[in-house]
């Protein structure tokens, strides 16, 4: 992976300067420490920049890169995993290559297929392509949203880059935090694409292409998560479908091992990363280095399961032991890289982990994100299924008891009285067909954190975030099975807007490490989306078909292990000892009032509660992390805008 940036003229009056394009590069050096380059169009209509993390064709793949006659240029962040096959095919069709890089297939595929070139790519990518003959710029992002691409439109220029901090040197003043974005973060855990935390700064949405031509910017969707009408699923026996799933996963993994540098893997000890490591071992007997996180907090630690798999598959392993103090110490840098407010500290240990990868001499890891969304793994999907079942007989006493089977990892002081669970999960039960049904309980709980919003902030909110989302759902959504609807919402909100960016790309790239995601190969997604939902969740057995596919390759304990979602300590990370100075400062009454997003008195009560050690509630933990990370974003990107620009330099 790498960093890309560029500036395009929106009118014929303006000329783009190389100096301006260069000014954006230093903020991307962590994404591409190995090399950098700039291309300036001879007519100065556009400048493209690149910082390189060399992974394929180490000597020859410098960017920005061009086609045969230098009329098509690209700056690209990512990998095209099927580049070997594409290259052969394009050469057969008369194209000449001057490098062995995967990047070069992009310019030739564009020459061959026009804007449809993207349909031929299997990979993860953020692409800026300039066609100088037609004077048009394409900005394209991969299907699932693995890699980032941000832009902002000024009166006469379009700026774009892999990270928001690279845009800052070209802004006349500090950006503003968007109230709408905060409202979305405190509902869905992330601002909804194309929004970012900041006003007037947007992202190219996953599966979208922006085309700039004659000063007009037009957007199209080339791919989206799609599910069949109910009943129109893959035909074939469970055994046949199991084999097909296994074969697609095996190939998705194999092509993601293509690199001119060593490739490692993340290993959490859960089913997904265990399966991934097993698939890698099936492909190659070469020694495999895996990387894991251990936690000081025993309830969150998965070391026992990690060890089982290390022994079973005979892989090497390095691990970090994450202590509460590590999270507190690293949190500001985590937010600086995430460039957004977040509600959990979970990204922070991921950044520590990529640091270990880097220190071990590795640039690339395979990782299991996406399996839950694609193959039906989350407890939220089980929860949604139970609630649908319960909705048929809302007065049933025993139907909701099924919910108790869901959360054995939750620490309780005793059995939860069913009435409390009932009342919580009953939310929306009267309307089981409403579009957001599956996610209402999570969005409701998260939204409770908005009690801390200041009057000022509340006065600036316009939309109801959930209503807005449901208005923007695709027309076919209502015809999908309820399980598929839940998957769609999860893929579009949590996966695309949060997990892949704040917890994924940003935490990897902070240490110049590339992550690769076999479960997000679009062939895996498209195949799995057409599976009958009962093959993803058979009764309450999650990822049923996936487990069938992997049952001969993994120890029974891993297959049968109850899902433990990855979590990191939140309030205890900051308050189990004396909180760091930055926490006391940014959560002080003075700073809270000055920045203006949160009610200083209410946050004061939350702090008192957190310091006393009596905060157990989810919402307290989310609220504290949400408030602190928002304050950090204001600190870095607004109050200290100019020093952040120079720091990036």
């Amino acid at each position: 992976m790498c960093g890309i940036n560029g500036i395009a003229a929106l009118s014929t009056q303006i000329k783009i300067s190389e100096k301006d394009v260069l000014s954006m590069l230093p903020a991307l050096y962590h994404r591409g420490p190995d090399d950098s380059g700039v291309y300036l169009d001879p007519n100065q209509r556009i400048g493209l920049g690149h910082t390189r993390l060399s992974i394929i064709d180490l000597t020859g793949g410098a960017q920005p890169l061009h086609n045969e006659d230098r009329t098509v240029w690209v700056t690209f962040n990512g990998e095209i995993f099927n580049y070997v096959e594409l290259r052969k095919d394009l050469i057969k069709q008369g194209h000449s290559f001057h490098t062995h890089s995967d990047t070069e297939v992009i310019v030739h595929a564009y020459e061959q297929y026009g804007d449809d070139f993207v349909q031929h790519l299997n990979g993860q990518f953020a692409i800026a392509l300039w066609d100088s003959n037609k004077q048009r710029l394409l900005l394209v992002r991969d299907r699932a949203g693995i890699l980032p691409l941000f832009y902002t439109r000024q009166s006469d220029r379009l700026l774009f880059s892999s990270e928001i901090k690279a845009l800052l040197p070209q802004l006349p003043e500090a950006p503003c935090i968007s109230p709408t974005a905060l409202d979305q973060i405190f509902t869905f855990w992330a601002a909804r694409s194309p929004n970012t935390l900041f006003e007037d700064i947007f992202e190219v949405s996953p599966g979208h292409m922006l085309v700039l031509e004659n000063g007009d910017l037009r957007e199209s969707i080339y791919w989206d998560w799609r599910f069949p009408e109910q009943g129109d699923y893959h035909q074939g026996s469970d055994a046949d479908l199991t084999d097909q799933l296994y074969d697609i996963l095996a190939d998705a993994t194999a092509i993601r091992l293509r690199a001119d540098v060593p490739v490692g893997a993340y290993l959490s000890g859960g089913l997904d990363s265990s399966a991934l490591v097993a698939l890698i071992r099936r492909h190659s007997n070469a020694p495999l280095k895996t990387f894991s996180i251990g936690f000081e907090e025993q309830l969150l630690d998965e070391s026992v399961f990690q060890q089982q798999l290390i022994e079973h598959l005979g892989v090497e392993n390095s691990r970090i032991l994450c202590q509460n103090s590590d999270i507190a110490e690293n949190f500001p840098a985590t937010i600086f890289h995430a460039e957004t407010a977040i509600l959990r500290t979970a990204p922070s240990p991921m950044r520590q982990l990529s640091g270990l990868v880097r220190d071990s001499g590795y640039k690339v890891v395979l990782t299991g994100e996406g399996a839950d969304e694609v193959l039906g793994g989350y407890d939220l999907f089980k929860e949604a299924k139970i609630r649908q079942f319960w909705a048929r007989h809302p007065q049933s006493e025993w139907r909701p008891l099924l919910l108790k089977a869901l959360y054995p990892y939750l620490e309780t002081s005793g059995a939860q009285a069913k009435t409390y669970l009932n009342n919580y999960y009953r939310i929306g039960l009267d309307k089981p067909d409403q579009p957001g049904f599956s996610h209402l309980t999570r969005w409701f709980t998260t939204s409770q954190c908005k009690v801390f919003f200041s009057q000022e902030l509340n006065a600036r909110l316009r939309d109801n975030a959930v209503n807005r989302l449901t208005e923007q759902l695709p027309p076919a959504f209502d015809n999908w099975h309820s399980f598929n609807r839940a998957q769609y919402l999860e893929a579009k909100t949590l996966l695309g807007d949060y997990l892949l960016c704040s917890q994924g790309d940003r935490m990897l790239m902070a240490n110049s490490v590339e992550g690769r995601f076999p479960f997000l190969d679009h062939r895996v997604i498209e195949f799995a989306n057409r599976l009958n939902p009962r093959l993803k969740m058979r009764a309450l057995n999650e990822k049923y078909l996936f487990k069938q596919a992997m049952k001969n390759h993994l120890p029974r304990q891993i297959l049968e292990r109850h899902k433990q979602p990855y979590r990191a300590p939140d309030i205890p990370a900051f308050f189990s000892a004396d909180p760091p100075d930055y926490v006391k400062d940014l959560l002080s009454e003075e700073k809270l009032r000055r920045y203006g997003y949160f009610d200083a008195k209410k946050v004061g009560f939350l702090l008192k509660k957190a310091s006393s050690g009596s905060s157990i509630a989810y919402k307290d933990n989310m609220a504290l992390v949400g408030v602190l990370s928002t304050q950090l974003c204001h600190y870095f990107f607004i109050e200290n805008f100019f020093s952040t620009c120079s720091r990036s330099n």
Binding site: T412, S413, G414, A415, Q416, A417, T419, Y420, L421, N423, Y424, F444, T445, Q448, V451, F452, D599, K601, K602, V603, F605, L606, K608, K609, S614, S615, I616, A617, Y618, K619
Partner: protein, 86 residues
């Protein structure tokens, strides 16, 4: 401070995060008001156990005992009376 006041004070500061007395009626349902979730219930139970020296049994974890200031106060009084009688 009398018991109800202690409970009110706790709910106001730890669940509503405010000193504004007008936001909480003694009879207001915490569940209906959306101010509590399944993990928040545990906090209330820990609070009354530690503050009033009682033990909440599993089968007592019911809205009738825990879901408003009035219900909490009545429940704690009953439990304390039972402990004295025993």
């Amino acid at each position: 401070m009398n018991m109800k006041k202690i409970i009110r004070h706790y709910i106001m500061e730890n669940l509503l995060f405010t000193e504004d007395e007008s936001v909480l009626q003694d009879s207001s349902s915490f569940l209906d008001g959306g101010i509590i979730d399944s993990t928040g219930v545990m906090e209330i139970i820990l609070f009354i156990e530690e503050t009033f020296g009682i033990k909440v049994d599993d089968n007592e974890m019911l809205p009738a005992n825990l879901d408003s200031v009035d219900n909490l106060a009545a429940f704690v009084q009953r439990k304390q009376a039972q402990a004295v009688a025993a």
